[in-house]
Amino acid sequence: MNVFFYIAAVVAIISTIMAISGRNAIHSLLYLILSLLAISVIFYLLSAPFIAALEVIIYAGAIMVLFIFVTMMLNIGLERETEKKWLKPCMWIVPSLLAAVLLVNLILALKNVKSIQPDEEAILPKQVGISLFSTYLLGVEIAAILLMAGVIGAYHLGSQKKKVKHRFLEIN
């Protein structure tokens, strides 16, 4: 358990530092994805496979892909050049190496699954669901209100004013 944990933790720390210090947005995002993947490996090693899967699906999957799409959309006129710039080996080689380290780490951990989780029982989705909808039901409801406030705020702050005049008339 210890060796696997430390490898994943080192990957997480390195990639987070790179994500913060990077000057290129896409580069930072790649490292951020890597950091989230490393954290999900740590969750897995702590015998919480469900949270590990959620971390990959929601954070590394949905949210980060959205981020990358938006960042790519912002440079829309210059696709060719920026794409070339992004595809230089120096951009992707370190993140992919780190990701490979994580993958090997995970595979080895899976092979030694008996030795890394000797006494703890894995927490499965069923248990999480049961406790969310019995003991912590109130918490779930409050989280719903929280999200509602967030949605309304996003709507209010993001809504565009309707233009009354035609845009050709609106020179000054």
Partner: protein
Amino acid sequence: MTERDFLCLTPFLIIAIAPVMIMVVVSVLRNYKVVYGFSVLSLLAAFGSIFFVLPSIPHTIEPLLILDVYSMFFLGIIIISALLVTFLSYDYIKQLEGVREEYFIIIFTSTLGASLLAVANHFVIFFLGIETLSISLYILIAFQRSKSNSIEAGIKYLILASVSSAFLLFGMALIYTAIGSMQFGDIVAALTGHDPLSLLVRSGFGMMMVGVGFKLALVPFHMWTPDVYQGAPAPVSAFIATVSKGAVMAILIRFFFIIKGFNNHYLFIVVSGISILSMFLGNILALRQKNIKRLLGYSSIANMGYLIIILLTGSNKGIQASIFYLIAYFFTTIGAFGVIALLSTNEYEAEKIEDFKGLFWKRPFIALVFTLSLLSLAGIPVTAGFIAKFYVILEGMKAGLIVLIISMIINSVIGLYYYLRIITMLFSTPSEIKLPKLSITGNITIAIVGISILVLGIYPGWLIDLIIRFVSL
């Protein structure tokens, strides 16, 4: 969940259902007055339902909530201040362009977050409450989208509050690692008998202090205060200063008292250090301020510094003093920000000291209320602020916190300088600035606040008796 659970949760249910109802109404018909009236009625209903709930408390909803008289008292204070802020917002928000009904929805969600903090008995509710409160506050602060000031304040609060939430969460995680439970009762049980706390628990408490200190704007986590107070709409600044801080104070007092933090040498030094720093820095930075909203921001830092002295008294009397202090402070702050809100228009925010020049000769009534609020903040007799400060000093002296009390007294004197500077401005020869017409709701609210400050200042006995009879932890 049993029937009794639901019964005890009535105020929360009302506050939670109201925004959903407003959303449904708004999707059919956007009418500012209808939404406003409904909000006021719901807040009144929520306040009324507290009395309906009182017979069935104390009651705990395992493992998340604890409903006792202490929490009901705070709940009442929070709802009343939310109500007063709603009154003040009516004219201020009405004159904004674009959609405005969302404002009241967000007021409800933030009030819900705040009132949850008063009843939390578990880190989950603690965190969810703080997050609901802060997410709503980002929106309220940046509500005037067209103003760059507002947006700047909103983003500043968003970033700093996220960082502080991360600290809070990490602190909770460390305590959970050490103890294995997030319920306050279990934490207390696990801590008793371990006098030098383990390093994990200590760092956990330290990190939680960062998160809480940010929300209360205590030095050294106060950097956001002046900018946010200045950039936010005036009623929202009042909301931050009262509801948000009061709710965080409620949970801080509860948590600190049940873990008996005052007996812990390490926490004692941290809290007294923060308290002294907040008093001095808040007051000294306020001295040269030309902007009243910023000045009130700094003064709130100093006031929270005075209030956390209570944490170290370690007695029920201390808690009672803190509740009285908070009530007095709430009325005072709402009075001060209310006057600013009434004098501001969509184009012009009355926030410079010069804007108040000679206010007494043009609008004697609100100038009087403003004077009362400032005197109360300064702690001059006949106002609520004096009794509150006196009460805190009394309890502090009983607990033997001499250094803290002496620095509080020194700071009260420093504070006088800048409060009196504004008051002299109010009574000097008037300038040519045109003042907006005052509305009836605004006038009535200000009158209620002014009368409350006076009543609590002249005849505070009944409230103190009430608090002493019912509130204890």
